[in-house]
Amino acid sequence: MRLTHASIALGLMSLTPSTGAFAAESAQFAKPLPDEEIPSVQSLPAQYPKDWVLIQDFHFNALIDGRLAIVDTKSPDLPLKGTLRATQFANVLYSRTKNEIYTSETFYSRLTRGERTDAITIWNTATLQPKGEIILPGGKRQQSVTYTGVFQFTNAEKWALVANFTPAQSVTVVDLDGRKVLGEIDLPGCTHIYPTGSRGFSSLCADGSMISITLDEQGSVASSKTIASVQDIDKQPLFGMPAMVGRTAWFVSYYGELRGFDLSGNVARPTGSANVGTAPGGDPQWRPGGWQVISSDAKGLLYVLMSPHGREGSHKDGGTQVWVIDPATGTQVRRIDLEGMATSIAVTREDQPQLVIARPDGAIAVFDAATGKPLRDLGATVAFNPLVIMPAQ
C-alpha cells in the first residue's frame, strides 16, 4: 500500500490506528479523500436575498457580547449564515444600496472597565469584515433594550442619526459617507428617531406630541414643527417601533389602536387610525404583546402580535396569534395561530411573503404570511435573545 505524505505525518503523531486495522475498508474505497484547502473562510452575497433576515441578538446573559445574526429563513439545516459583533445594547442598520451594515456600539478598553468609546462600525455585507469606523463623542449613546428608533438613516442613507441618553436626550448627526460626526441636536423630552422627509426626523415627546425636524446641509436644525396630542401616554400608549408602509409609520397601542403617520414630507402628518379588531378567547382580553409586535407586507397589510392574556403589564410578555389588518379599510383580514408563544415578528418582502417569528426560547419559526400555514421551524439555532428581526429587502 502506498502511503501519502499526509498519512505518514498523521502516523507519526500516533493519533491514528495502524493502517492495517482498516485494510478491508481501504479495499472498499480505492482512493483516499482529497486534501482540503485551508485556511478557508466563507463569504456571503453582497446583496442578501429577500428570504434572508437580520436578527439582533440582545444576548442578555452577556450584553458585552451582543450579536447580529444573518439568517436564511428557507434553510432548516443551515439557517445561520454568519454573525457580526453588536456589543453593549448595540443598534444596527443595513444599507441595501451600499451593501454595508452599520453597528452603533459602546466599548470599554478593558472589556467591562476602562476608557469608554462609542463608535459606529461599517461592515462589508459580503465578508462581514469591518471597513471603517466613526467615533461618537461624549460617551452618551442611548443604551436600552433594542429599539430600531435609536439609530436610523437620513439623507438617502448618506447620514445616520444616533439617539443619546445620559439621561439628557439629544441626537448625534453622522455623515456615514464622509466618516465624520456633523453635530448634535438637543432634544429634551423627546425620544426615538423616525426618518422624515428627505433630510430630517420625527420623535415622540413626553407631553404626547410629536416633533419633526429638518436638517440643513451641515446637519444642523433647519426647521422644527410640533404636532400636538398624537398619543395619550397614560390611556393609549404606543409601542415604540412602528411598521412602515412606504413612508407611512403605523404604530400600535398597548390596547390595539393603530395610528398612521405620513413621514414623506418635512413634517409628520397623521393619516388616520384603525383598530386590530376582536376575537373570542381573550382571558381576560386580547391585546398586543411582545417586543417587535407590528410588521407590514408589501401590500400594506399590518401584522400585529396578539396575546390572549392582555392586562396591565402584559405588553412585553409575547403573543400567540398574529392579526392581519388592512389599515386602508380598517378591517381585520385574518388571524394566524402561531402554535405557541412568540415575542417578535416580521414579514419578508418576497413574492410570497413569509411571516418570521421569534419565540421566547430563541427559536425562529416561519409561516406563510398569506395563508398562515406553518412552513418550517428553524429551532433555537441563530440567536440567544432574538429581539428585532429585519428583513433583508
Binding site: 442578555f60 452577556a62 450584553l63 413626553a206 401616554i233 403589564g313 402584559s314 412585553k316 421566547p360 429581539l387
Partner: protein, 183 residues
C-alpha cells in the same frame, strides 16, 4: 456623581419618607428627568413565567416581618424590578456583588409587605462594571410605559453616573415607608 444624581437620590429619600404612596411616583416623574428602571429582557417573563428562583433553594431574610424567597421574582420587594436579582449574583437584596459599583440613579417603586401590610418605597439600583450576572432574571411591567416617558420605562440601561455602564444585576433596597401606610 453628577448634580442630577445627587438631586435624584436626595429627592428619592425625601419622597420615600415624606409623601404618600400614590403621589411619590408622580412627583418623581415630574421633577427628575430620567430616574427610571433597569435594563431587562422584556420578554423574559414569557420565557420563564415565574422569573428567577426556579430550581434554587430559597433565600430568606430570617425574619418573619420580611417574608419570601429573594431568589424568586414573586418576592414582595420585586414588584417593579427588572433584571438579574443581585441576591443570586454574589450580592444581597440591598447590596451589590463584589467588584461592581452601585448606580447612583435609581428607579423607585412602592411595594406592599404582606407581613406587616405597610407599603415600602423600594430603590432598584443597578450594579455596574461586571458582565451580566445571568442568574435569576426577573421582569415585571406593571405600570411600564414607552421610552418616551423615561421615568416610567424599564428598558433603559440605568448604569449611568457609574465608572462603567456594563450591567451586572439589580438590588431592591428599602429606603422608607410611604407615609400614609406608616400611620
Amino acid at each position: 456623581m453628577s448634580g442630577i444624581d445627587k438631586l435624584t437620590e436626595t429627592l428619592s429619600r425625601r419622597l420615600a419618607k415624606g409623601t404618600s404612596r400614590r403621589s411619590s411616583l408622580a412627583w418623581l416623574g415630574g421633577l427628575v428627568t430620567g430616574t427610571a428602571a433597569l435594563p431587562l429582557l422584556p420578554v423574559a417573563r414569557a420565557a420563564t413565567p415565574h422569573g428567577g428562583g426556579t430550581g434554587r433553594p430559597p433565600i430568606t431574610s430570617g425574619t418573619p416581618q420580611d417574608p419570601g424567597d429573594r431568589a424568586s421574582c414573586d418576592y414582595w420587594r420585586y414588584c417593579a424590578i427588572d433584571g438579574f436579582l443581585c441576591s443570586c449574583c454574589g450580592g444581597t437584596v440591598n447590596s451589590c456583588p463584589p467588584g461592581t459599583e452601585m448606580s447612583p440613579i435609581t428607579w423607585i417603586g412602592t411595594c406592599t409587605n404582606p407581613a406587616d401590610g405597610r407599603a415600602y418605597v423600594i430603590s432598584y439600583n443597578d450594579c455596574c462594571g461586571a458582565s451580566s450576572c445571568g442568574q435569576c432574571l426577573c421582569n415585571r411591567n406593571e405600570g411600564d410605559r414607552p421610552q418616551v416617558r423615561p421615568q416610567s420605562n424599564n428598558d433603559y440601561n440605568w448604569c449611568l453616573g457609574t465608572e462603567s455602564s456594563v450591567y451586572n444585576c439589580s438590588v431592591a433596597a428599602i429606603v422608607g415607608v410611604a407615609l400614609e401606610d406608616a400611620q
